[in-house]
Protein backbone atom coordinates (compact mmCIF):
# COMPACT_ATOMS: atom_id res chain seq x y z
CA UNK A 1 0.00 0.00 0.00
CA UNK A 2 1.12 3.56 -0.42
CA UNK A 3 0.33 6.85 1.21
CA UNK A 4 -1.40 9.53 -0.82
CA UNK A 5 -0.98 13.05 0.49
CA UNK A 6 -1.20 13.45 4.23
CA UNK A 7 -4.13 11.30 5.26
CA UNK A 8 -4.95 8.70 2.64
CA UNK A 9 -3.86 5.11 2.11
CA UNK A 10 -4.23 3.43 -1.25
CA UNK A 11 -4.28 -0.38 -1.25
CA UNK A 12 -2.33 -2.22 -3.96
CA UNK A 13 -4.33 -5.40 -3.41
CA UNK A 14 -7.59 -4.01 -2.07
CA UNK A 15 -9.13 -6.17 0.65
CA UNK A 16 -12.56 -7.47 -0.25
CA UNK A 17 -15.65 -7.84 1.87
CA UNK A 18 -16.88 -11.40 1.84
CA UNK A 19 -19.59 -11.18 4.46
CA UNK A 20 -21.56 -8.63 6.42
CA UNK A 21 -24.35 -8.83 8.98
CA UNK A 22 -26.54 -6.63 11.13
CA UNK A 23 -28.71 -6.96 14.22
CA UNK A 24 -31.10 -4.12 15.01
CA UNK A 25 -33.83 -3.09 17.43
CA UNK A 26 -37.53 -2.68 16.77
CA UNK A 27 -37.41 0.99 15.87
CA UNK A 28 -34.81 0.41 13.17
CA UNK A 29 -36.71 -2.54 11.74
CA UNK A 30 -39.75 -0.26 11.38
CA UNK A 31 -37.77 2.34 9.48
CA UNK A 32 -37.34 2.70 5.71
CA UNK A 33 -34.49 0.17 5.64
CA UNK A 34 -36.22 -2.34 7.89
CA UNK A 35 -36.34 -5.15 5.35
CA UNK A 36 -32.59 -5.08 4.79
CA UNK A 37 -31.41 -5.97 8.29
CA UNK A 38 -30.57 -9.57 9.12
CA UNK A 39 -31.89 -9.89 12.62
CA UNK A 40 -34.23 -7.93 14.90
CA UNK A 41 -34.10 -8.25 18.68
CA UNK A 42 -37.29 -8.73 20.68
CA UNK A 43 -37.03 -5.50 22.69
CA UNK A 44 -34.41 -3.25 24.29
CA UNK A 45 -33.48 -5.98 26.75
CA UNK A 46 -32.86 -8.67 24.11
CA UNK A 47 -33.82 -11.33 26.68
CA UNK A 48 -30.99 -10.19 28.94
CA UNK A 49 -31.17 -8.68 32.40
CA UNK A 50 -29.64 -5.31 31.56
CA UNK A 51 -29.28 -3.07 28.54
CA UNK A 52 -25.53 -3.31 28.54
CA UNK A 53 -25.79 -7.10 28.44
CA UNK A 54 -28.31 -6.73 25.63
CA UNK A 55 -25.75 -4.80 23.63
CA UNK A 56 -23.08 -7.42 24.35
CA UNK A 57 -25.39 -10.19 23.15
CA UNK A 58 -26.23 -8.28 19.97
CA UNK A 59 -22.55 -7.87 19.26
CA UNK A 60 -21.85 -11.58 19.74
CA UNK A 61 -24.80 -12.49 17.57
CA UNK A 62 -23.88 -10.23 14.70
CA UNK A 63 -20.34 -11.54 14.52
CA UNK A 64 -21.55 -15.14 14.60
CA UNK A 65 -24.07 -14.30 11.91
CA UNK A 66 -21.39 -12.84 9.63
CA UNK A 67 -19.26 -15.97 10.09
CA UNK A 68 -22.18 -18.37 9.54
CA UNK A 69 -23.16 -16.73 6.27
CA UNK A 70 -19.90 -17.84 4.68
CA UNK A 71 -19.36 -21.02 6.72
CA UNK A 72 -16.31 -19.75 8.53
CA UNK A 73 -15.23 -20.75 12.02
CA UNK A 74 -13.90 -18.38 14.65
CA UNK A 75 -10.42 -19.86 14.14
CA UNK A 76 -10.48 -18.87 10.46
CA UNK A 77 -10.20 -15.21 11.40
CA UNK A 78 -6.82 -13.57 11.95
CA UNK A 79 -7.72 -10.40 13.86
CA UNK A 80 -10.74 -8.70 15.38
CA UNK A 81 -11.08 -4.93 15.33
CA UNK A 82 -13.95 -3.34 17.18
CA UNK A 83 -15.24 -0.65 19.48
CA UNK A 84 -18.46 0.87 20.76
CA UNK A 85 -19.86 3.66 22.90
CA UNK A 86 -19.99 1.96 26.27
CA UNK A 87 -17.36 2.94 28.82
CA UNK A 88 -14.16 1.10 28.01
CA UNK A 89 -15.88 -0.39 24.90
CA UNK A 90 -17.04 -3.36 26.94
CA UNK A 91 -19.62 -4.61 24.43
CA UNK A 92 -16.78 -5.24 22.01
CA UNK A 93 -14.34 -6.54 24.61
CA UNK A 94 -16.82 -9.05 25.98
CA UNK A 95 -17.81 -10.28 22.52
CA UNK A 96 -14.14 -10.70 21.64
CA UNK A 97 -13.49 -12.92 24.65
CA UNK A 98 -15.35 -15.70 22.84
CA UNK A 99 -12.71 -15.71 20.13
CA UNK A 100 -9.34 -17.50 20.19
CA UNK A 101 -8.00 -14.65 18.09
CA UNK A 102 -6.11 -11.38 18.77
CA UNK A 103 -8.31 -8.35 19.37
CA UNK A 104 -7.66 -4.66 18.85
CA UNK A 105 -10.11 -2.40 20.67
CA UNK A 106 -10.70 0.94 19.00
CA UNK A 107 -12.52 4.06 20.05
CA UNK A 108 -13.70 6.45 17.38
CA UNK A 109 -17.11 7.03 18.93
CA UNK A 110 -19.59 6.72 16.09
CA UNK A 111 -16.83 6.49 13.48
CA UNK A 112 -15.52 3.22 14.90
CA UNK A 113 -16.86 0.93 12.15
CA UNK A 114 -15.07 2.78 9.39
CA UNK A 115 -11.95 3.15 11.54
CA UNK A 116 -11.95 -0.62 12.12
CA UNK A 117 -12.41 -1.35 8.42
CA UNK A 118 -9.59 1.03 7.53
CA UNK A 119 -7.10 -0.39 10.02
CA UNK A 120 -8.11 -3.95 9.19
CA UNK A 121 -7.54 -3.28 5.50
CA UNK A 122 -4.04 -2.09 6.25
CA UNK A 123 -3.37 -5.36 8.06
CA UNK A 124 -4.62 -7.39 5.10
CA UNK A 125 -2.89 -5.37 2.40
CA UNK A 126 0.22 -5.35 4.56
CA UNK A 127 0.28 -9.12 4.35
CA UNK A 128 -0.18 -10.10 8.00
CA UNK A 129 -3.80 -11.10 7.85
CA UNK A 130 -5.98 -13.12 5.51
CA UNK A 131 -9.29 -12.32 7.15
CA UNK A 132 -10.32 -9.76 9.72
CA UNK A 133 -13.69 -8.93 11.23
CA UNK A 134 -14.55 -5.34 12.03
CA UNK A 135 -17.61 -4.89 14.19
CA UNK A 136 -19.33 -2.32 16.36
CA UNK A 137 -22.59 -1.74 18.18
CA UNK A 138 -24.69 0.84 19.95
CA UNK A 139 -27.81 0.67 22.09
CA UNK A 140 -30.22 3.51 22.66
CA UNK A 141 -30.97 3.03 26.37
CA UNK A 142 -27.44 2.09 27.35
CA UNK A 143 -26.04 5.15 25.58
CA UNK A 144 -28.64 7.59 26.95
CA UNK A 145 -27.98 6.54 30.50
CA UNK A 146 -24.24 6.82 30.16
CA UNK A 147 -23.93 10.06 28.22
CA UNK A 148 -27.04 12.00 29.18
CA UNK A 149 -29.86 11.40 31.68
CA UNK A 150 -31.71 8.30 32.92
CA UNK A 151 -34.11 6.91 30.38
CA UNK A 152 -37.28 7.48 32.35
CA UNK A 153 -36.28 11.05 33.21
CA UNK A 154 -38.75 13.62 31.95
CA UNK A 155 -36.44 15.76 29.86
CA UNK A 156 -37.86 17.23 26.66
CA UNK A 157 -35.60 16.60 23.67
CA UNK A 158 -34.89 19.51 21.33
CA UNK A 159 -35.79 18.78 17.71
CA UNK A 160 -32.15 18.72 16.61
CA UNK A 161 -31.19 15.93 18.98
CA UNK A 162 -30.55 12.54 17.38
CA UNK A 163 -31.66 9.06 18.37
CA UNK A 164 -28.95 6.51 19.10
CA UNK A 165 -29.46 3.47 16.89
CA UNK A 166 -29.86 0.14 18.65
CA UNK A 167 -27.84 -1.93 16.26
CA UNK A 168 -24.73 -4.01 15.76
CA UNK A 169 -22.93 -4.48 12.47
CA UNK A 170 -20.01 -6.65 11.35
CA UNK A 171 -18.06 -7.06 8.13
CA UNK A 172 -15.48 -9.68 7.21
CA UNK A 173 -12.64 -8.32 5.09
CA UNK A 174 -10.38 -10.72 3.29
CA UNK A 175 -7.69 -11.13 0.65
CA UNK A 176 -9.98 -13.59 -1.13
CA UNK A 177 -12.48 -12.55 -3.75
CA UNK A 178 -15.54 -10.86 -2.35
CA UNK A 179 -18.46 -8.70 -3.36
CA UNK A 180 -17.10 -5.24 -2.51
CA UNK A 181 -13.51 -4.00 -2.48
CA UNK A 182 -12.07 -1.44 -0.10
CA UNK A 183 -9.65 0.45 -2.32
CA UNK A 184 -8.65 3.46 -0.23
CA UNK A 185 -8.91 4.74 3.31
CA UNK A 186 -8.59 8.31 4.53
CA UNK A 187 -7.88 8.68 8.23
CA UNK A 188 -9.32 11.77 9.84
CA UNK A 189 -7.87 14.51 12.01
CA UNK A 190 -9.58 15.69 15.16
CA UNK A 191 -11.54 18.84 14.37
CA UNK A 192 -13.13 21.10 16.97
CA UNK A 193 -15.07 24.20 15.99
CA UNK A 194 -16.24 25.00 19.49
CA UNK A 195 -19.69 23.36 19.59
CA UNK A 196 -20.56 22.76 23.24
CA UNK A 197 -24.08 21.33 23.18
CA UNK A 198 -23.98 17.54 23.70
CA UNK A 199 -27.49 17.31 22.31
CA UNK A 200 -26.31 18.73 18.98
CA UNK A 201 -23.88 16.11 17.71
CA UNK A 202 -24.61 16.80 14.06
CA UNK A 203 -23.33 20.36 14.24
CA UNK A 204 -20.26 19.26 16.17
CA UNK A 205 -19.33 16.54 13.66
CA UNK A 206 -20.06 18.35 10.38
CA UNK A 207 -16.70 20.18 10.22
CA UNK A 208 -14.82 16.91 10.74
CA UNK A 209 -16.80 15.24 7.96
CA UNK A 210 -16.20 18.16 5.61
CA UNK A 211 -12.50 18.23 6.45
CA UNK A 212 -12.02 14.51 5.76
CA UNK A 213 -13.97 14.69 2.50
CA UNK A 214 -11.88 17.63 1.29
CA UNK A 215 -8.61 15.99 2.23
CA UNK A 216 -9.64 12.69 0.68
CA UNK A 217 -10.52 14.31 -2.63
CA UNK A 218 -7.28 16.28 -2.58
CA UNK A 219 -5.11 13.27 -1.67
CA UNK A 220 -6.76 11.01 -4.25
CA UNK A 221 -6.99 13.74 -6.89
CA UNK A 222 -10.69 13.09 -7.40
CA UNK A 223 -13.86 15.14 -7.40
CA UNK A 224 -17.27 14.39 -5.92
CA UNK A 225 -18.56 13.24 -9.29
CA UNK A 226 -16.10 10.33 -9.23
CA UNK A 227 -18.39 8.78 -6.64
CA UNK A 228 -21.92 7.48 -7.09
CA UNK A 229 -22.55 8.29 -3.47
CA UNK A 230 -20.78 10.09 -0.64
CA UNK A 231 -22.42 8.96 2.57
CA UNK A 232 -21.72 9.87 6.18
CA UNK A 233 -22.37 7.80 9.27
CA UNK A 234 -24.60 9.84 11.54
CA UNK A 235 -24.60 13.54 10.89
CA UNK A 236 -28.38 13.74 10.99
CA UNK A 237 -30.46 16.27 9.11
CA UNK A 238 -28.75 19.29 10.67
CA UNK A 239 -25.21 17.96 10.30
CA UNK A 240 -25.88 16.87 6.74
CA UNK A 241 -26.98 20.34 5.66
CA UNK A 242 -24.08 21.95 7.48
CA UNK A 243 -21.56 19.66 5.78
CA UNK A 244 -22.99 20.39 2.35
CA UNK A 245 -22.66 24.12 3.00
CA UNK A 246 -19.18 23.89 4.53
CA UNK A 247 -18.02 21.97 1.47
CA UNK A 248 -19.73 24.37 -0.92
CA UNK A 249 -17.83 27.25 0.65
CA UNK A 250 -14.60 25.48 -0.29
CA UNK A 251 -15.74 24.96 -3.84
CA UNK A 252 -16.75 21.34 -3.39
CA UNK A 253 -20.25 20.55 -4.64
CA UNK A 254 -21.77 17.41 -3.19
CA UNK A 255 -25.44 18.31 -3.54
CA UNK A 256 -26.11 15.65 -6.18
CA UNK A 257 -24.73 12.59 -4.45
CA UNK A 258 -24.57 13.17 -0.69
CA UNK A 259 -26.52 11.33 1.97
CA UNK A 260 -26.29 10.28 5.60
CA UNK A 261 -27.00 6.93 7.27
CA UNK A 262 -28.65 8.68 10.22
CA UNK A 263 -31.12 10.38 7.90
CA UNK A 264 -31.80 7.16 5.98
CA UNK A 265 -32.40 4.80 8.85
CA UNK A 266 -35.55 6.35 10.31
CA UNK A 267 -38.59 8.04 8.83
CA UNK A 268 -39.94 11.34 10.11
CA UNK A 269 -42.93 9.70 11.83
CA UNK A 270 -40.68 7.88 14.26
CA UNK A 271 -40.00 11.01 16.34
CA UNK A 272 -36.25 10.76 16.21
CA UNK A 273 -35.35 14.42 16.02
CA UNK A 274 -32.63 15.01 13.46
CA UNK A 275 -32.12 11.31 12.71
CA UNK A 276 -30.12 8.33 13.87
CA UNK A 277 -26.72 8.36 15.54
CA UNK A 278 -24.37 5.93 17.24
CA UNK A 279 -21.75 3.44 16.11
CA UNK A 280 -24.45 1.04 15.05
CA UNK A 281 -25.95 3.55 12.63
CA UNK A 282 -23.19 3.53 10.03
CA UNK A 283 -22.44 -0.13 10.73
CA UNK A 284 -25.90 -1.57 10.08
CA UNK A 285 -26.73 0.70 7.13
CA UNK A 286 -23.38 -0.11 5.52
CA UNK A 287 -23.48 -3.83 6.29
CA UNK A 288 -27.01 -4.52 5.15
CA UNK A 289 -28.02 -1.79 2.76
CA UNK A 290 -24.97 -0.19 1.14
CA UNK A 291 -22.88 -3.30 0.56
CA UNK A 292 -25.62 -5.22 -1.32
CA UNK A 293 -26.39 -2.11 -3.40
CA UNK A 294 -22.73 -1.84 -4.36
CA UNK A 295 -22.30 -5.57 -4.96
CA UNK A 296 -25.26 -5.72 -7.33
CA UNK A 297 -24.20 -2.64 -9.22
CA UNK A 298 -26.61 0.09 -8.12
CA UNK A 299 -23.55 1.97 -6.97
CA UNK A 300 -20.11 1.37 -8.45
CA UNK A 301 -18.00 3.50 -6.18
CA UNK A 302 -19.02 4.89 -2.80
CA UNK A 303 -17.18 7.06 -0.28
CA UNK A 304 -18.35 5.98 3.17
CA UNK A 305 -17.52 8.15 6.16
CA UNK A 306 -17.86 7.42 9.83
CA UNK A 307 -18.29 10.49 12.01
CA UNK A 308 -17.61 10.53 15.72
CA UNK A 309 -17.90 12.97 18.62
CA UNK A 310 -15.01 12.45 21.02
CA UNK A 311 -16.46 13.69 24.28
CA UNK A 312 -17.49 12.17 27.56
CA UNK A 313 -20.11 13.33 30.08
CA UNK A 314 -17.46 14.94 32.26
CA UNK A 315 -15.91 17.17 29.60
CA UNK A 316 -19.28 18.78 29.02
CA UNK A 317 -19.68 19.51 32.72
CA UNK A 318 -16.19 20.98 32.77
CA UNK A 319 -17.16 23.48 30.10
CA UNK A 320 -15.30 21.90 27.21
CA UNK A 321 -16.38 21.88 23.58
CA UNK A 322 -16.79 18.72 21.49
CA UNK A 323 -13.86 17.59 19.31
CA UNK A 324 -14.90 15.34 16.45
CA UNK A 325 -13.38 13.04 13.86
CA UNK A 326 -14.35 11.48 10.55
CA UNK A 327 -12.72 8.51 8.78
CA UNK A 328 -13.44 7.50 5.21
CA UNK A 329 -13.18 4.35 3.11
CA UNK A 330 -13.74 3.92 -0.62
CA UNK A 331 -15.94 0.93 -1.46
CA UNK A 332 -16.00 -0.35 -5.04
CA UNK A 333 -17.90 -3.02 -6.85
CA UNK A 334 -15.76 -6.05 -7.70
CA UNK A 335 -18.15 -7.62 -10.18
CA UNK A 336 -18.35 -10.78 -8.10
CA UNK A 337 -21.20 -11.92 -5.90
CA UNK A 338 -20.84 -13.42 -2.46
CA UNK A 339 -23.47 -15.15 -0.34
CA UNK A 340 -22.31 -13.27 2.70
CA UNK A 341 -23.52 -9.82 1.78
CA UNK A 342 -27.22 -9.05 2.24
CA UNK A 343 -30.25 -11.04 3.27
CA UNK A 344 -31.46 -13.75 0.86
CA UNK A 345 -34.63 -11.73 0.15
CA UNK A 346 -32.52 -8.66 -0.59
CA UNK A 347 -30.17 -10.65 -2.79
CA UNK A 348 -33.06 -12.09 -4.80
CA UNK A 349 -34.59 -8.66 -5.19
CA UNK A 350 -31.42 -7.02 -6.44
CA UNK A 351 -30.18 -9.97 -8.51
CA UNK A 352 -33.20 -9.97 -10.77
CA UNK A 353 -32.13 -6.56 -11.96
CA UNK A 354 -28.66 -7.68 -13.00
CA UNK A 355 -27.84 -9.35 -16.31
CA UNK A 356 -26.35 -12.74 -15.47
CA UNK A 357 -23.71 -12.60 -18.19
CA UNK A 358 -21.98 -9.60 -16.72
CA UNK A 359 -21.35 -11.09 -13.30
CA UNK A 360 -19.27 -14.08 -12.30
CA UNK A 361 -21.10 -15.92 -9.53
CA UNK A 362 -18.68 -17.26 -6.92
CA UNK A 363 -21.26 -18.33 -4.37
CA UNK A 364 -20.59 -22.06 -4.98
CA UNK A 365 -16.86 -21.79 -4.43
CA UNK A 366 -17.06 -19.75 -1.19
CA UNK A 367 -15.47 -21.40 1.78
Amino acid sequence: MKKLGKQTVQFDNPPQIISSASVVGNKESQGPLGDYFDQVISDGYNNQSTWEKAQMKMTEDVVNNALDKVNLAKEDIDFLLAGDLLNQIVASNFAARKFPVPFLGLFGACSTMIEAMAVGSMMIDGGIANRIISFTSSHYQATERQYRTPNEYGDKYPPYKQWTVTGAGATILSNETGGVALTMATLGKVIDLGVKDPKDMGSAMAPAAADTILNHLEDSDRSPSDYDLIITGDLGQVGKNLTIELLAEQGCDVTKNFDDCGVMIYNSKQKVGAGGSGCGCSAVVAASYLLPQIMYGNFNRVLLLGTGALLNPMTFLQGESIPCIAHAVVLERTGHLTEGIGRPSVQDNLATKIEATKIEDLSQSEG
Binding site: T149, P150, P159, G273
Partner: protein, 147 residues
Protein backbone atom coordinates in the same frame (compact mmCIF):
# COMPACT_ATOMS: atom_id res chain seq x y z
CA UNK B 1 -9.77 22.69 -2.31
CA UNK B 2 -8.67 23.80 1.11
CA UNK B 3 -9.43 23.10 4.69
CA UNK B 4 -12.36 24.27 6.73
CA UNK B 5 -11.27 27.68 7.97
CA UNK B 6 -14.01 29.01 10.16
CA UNK B 7 -13.84 30.57 13.56
CA UNK B 8 -16.12 29.11 16.22
CA UNK B 9 -18.21 32.30 16.13
CA UNK B 10 -18.70 32.10 12.37
CA UNK B 11 -19.64 28.47 12.70
CA UNK B 12 -22.22 29.21 15.40
CA UNK B 13 -23.93 31.59 12.96
CA UNK B 14 -23.98 28.84 10.35
CA UNK B 15 -25.43 26.38 12.84
CA UNK B 16 -28.25 28.76 13.72
CA UNK B 17 -29.12 28.94 10.06
CA UNK B 18 -29.58 25.17 9.77
CA UNK B 19 -30.63 24.10 13.19
CA UNK B 20 -34.09 22.59 13.62
CA UNK B 21 -36.09 24.56 16.17
CA UNK B 22 -39.52 24.14 17.56
CA UNK B 23 -41.93 26.91 18.35
CA UNK B 24 -41.10 28.56 21.66
CA UNK B 25 -44.68 29.77 21.87
CA UNK B 26 -45.98 26.22 21.53
CA UNK B 27 -43.54 25.06 24.21
CA UNK B 28 -44.73 27.82 26.56
CA UNK B 29 -48.36 26.85 26.25
CA UNK B 30 -47.69 23.12 26.51
CA UNK B 31 -45.77 23.71 29.73
CA UNK B 32 -48.49 26.07 30.96
CA UNK B 33 -51.25 23.59 30.31
CA UNK B 34 -49.72 20.52 31.89
CA UNK B 35 -48.11 22.41 34.78
CA UNK B 36 -51.39 24.18 35.49
CA UNK B 37 -53.30 20.91 35.43
CA UNK B 38 -50.93 19.27 37.89
CA UNK B 39 -51.25 22.22 40.25
CA UNK B 40 -55.00 22.09 39.83
CA UNK B 41 -54.93 18.42 40.72
CA UNK B 42 -53.03 19.30 43.87
CA UNK B 43 -55.66 21.88 44.77
CA UNK B 44 -58.46 19.39 44.14
CA UNK B 45 -56.83 16.87 46.47
CA UNK B 46 -56.40 19.51 49.19
CA UNK B 47 -59.99 20.73 48.93
CA UNK B 48 -61.41 17.22 48.93
CA UNK B 49 -59.40 16.34 52.03
CA UNK B 50 -60.41 19.55 53.83
CA UNK B 51 -64.05 18.84 53.09
CA UNK B 52 -63.69 15.51 54.89
CA UNK B 53 -62.58 17.34 57.98
CA UNK B 54 -58.81 17.01 57.76
CA UNK B 55 -57.02 20.19 58.96
CA UNK B 56 -55.51 22.43 56.28
CA UNK B 57 -51.83 21.76 57.03
CA UNK B 58 -52.27 17.99 57.00
CA UNK B 59 -54.30 18.24 53.82
CA UNK B 60 -51.35 19.98 52.21
CA UNK B 61 -48.97 17.30 53.41
CA UNK B 62 -51.24 14.52 52.08
CA UNK B 63 -51.49 16.32 48.76
CA UNK B 64 -47.70 16.47 48.58
CA UNK B 65 -47.38 12.76 49.31
CA UNK B 66 -50.09 11.93 46.76
CA UNK B 67 -48.42 13.90 44.01
CA UNK B 68 -45.07 12.32 44.81
CA UNK B 69 -46.74 8.93 44.60
CA UNK B 70 -48.38 9.75 41.28
CA UNK B 71 -45.15 11.09 39.81
CA UNK B 72 -43.22 8.05 40.97
CA UNK B 73 -45.85 5.65 39.70
CA UNK B 74 -46.05 7.26 36.27
CA UNK B 75 -42.26 7.14 36.07
CA UNK B 76 -42.22 3.47 36.98
CA UNK B 77 -44.88 2.76 34.38
CA UNK B 78 -42.74 4.48 31.78
CA UNK B 79 -45.33 7.12 31.05
CA UNK B 80 -43.88 10.22 32.68
CA UNK B 81 -41.16 10.79 30.11
CA UNK B 82 -43.72 10.50 27.31
CA UNK B 83 -45.79 13.29 28.87
CA UNK B 84 -42.61 15.27 29.39
CA UNK B 85 -41.83 15.23 25.68
CA UNK B 86 -44.94 17.34 25.26
CA UNK B 87 -44.92 19.36 28.46
CA UNK B 88 -41.25 20.17 29.07
CA UNK B 89 -41.09 22.36 32.16
CA UNK B 90 -44.73 21.51 32.90
CA UNK B 91 -43.58 18.12 34.10
CA UNK B 92 -40.19 19.13 35.48
CA UNK B 93 -41.28 21.92 37.83
CA UNK B 94 -44.15 20.40 39.84
CA UNK B 95 -43.35 18.07 42.66
CA UNK B 96 -44.28 15.14 40.43
CA UNK B 97 -41.15 16.06 38.49
CA UNK B 98 -39.12 15.80 41.66
CA UNK B 99 -40.47 12.31 42.20
CA UNK B 100 -39.57 11.52 38.59
CA UNK B 101 -36.04 12.79 39.20
CA UNK B 102 -35.72 10.43 42.14
CA UNK B 103 -37.25 7.34 40.61
CA UNK B 104 -35.73 7.50 37.14
CA UNK B 105 -32.06 7.07 38.04
CA UNK B 106 -32.87 4.66 40.84
CA UNK B 107 -34.99 2.38 38.69
CA UNK B 108 -32.31 1.83 36.12
CA UNK B 109 -29.43 1.66 38.55
CA UNK B 110 -31.12 -1.19 40.36
CA UNK B 111 -29.40 -3.50 37.90
CA UNK B 112 -26.12 -2.51 39.51
CA UNK B 113 -27.38 -3.68 42.87
CA UNK B 114 -29.57 -2.29 45.62
CA UNK B 115 -26.80 -0.67 47.68
CA UNK B 116 -24.35 0.82 45.21
CA UNK B 117 -26.77 1.02 42.32
CA UNK B 118 -30.25 2.00 43.45
CA UNK B 119 -29.25 3.29 46.85
CA UNK B 120 -26.53 5.59 45.64
CA UNK B 121 -28.27 6.86 42.53
CA UNK B 122 -31.57 7.86 44.11
CA UNK B 123 -30.03 11.28 44.65
CA UNK B 124 -28.13 11.63 41.41
CA UNK B 125 -30.53 14.04 39.72
CA UNK B 126 -32.50 15.37 42.70
CA UNK B 127 -29.41 15.88 44.82
CA UNK B 128 -28.74 19.50 43.82
CA UNK B 129 -32.29 20.46 44.82
CA UNK B 130 -31.78 19.10 48.33
CA UNK B 131 -28.30 20.52 48.68
CA UNK B 132 -29.04 24.03 47.54
CA UNK B 133 -32.48 24.11 49.09
CA UNK B 134 -31.02 23.33 52.50
CA UNK B 135 -28.11 25.68 51.96
CA UNK B 136 -30.24 28.65 50.95
CA UNK B 137 -32.69 28.02 53.79
CA UNK B 138 -29.81 27.97 56.24
CA UNK B 139 -28.22 31.11 54.83
CA UNK B 140 -31.47 33.04 54.88
CA UNK B 141 -32.07 31.96 58.44
CA UNK B 142 -28.53 32.96 59.38
CA UNK B 143 -28.96 36.30 57.67
CA UNK B 144 -32.16 37.01 59.56
CA UNK B 145 -30.61 35.90 62.81
CA UNK B 146 -27.69 38.23 62.45
CA UNK B 147 -29.79 41.22 61.38
Amino acid sequence: MGTIDKTPQEYQKLIKKHQLTDSKVKNFFSAYLIGGLICLLGQVIINVLISTGIPKDNAGAYATISLIFIGGLLTGLGVYDEIAQFAGAGTIVPITGFANAIVSPAIESRQEGYILGLGANIYSIAGPVLTYGMLSAFLIGLFKLLL
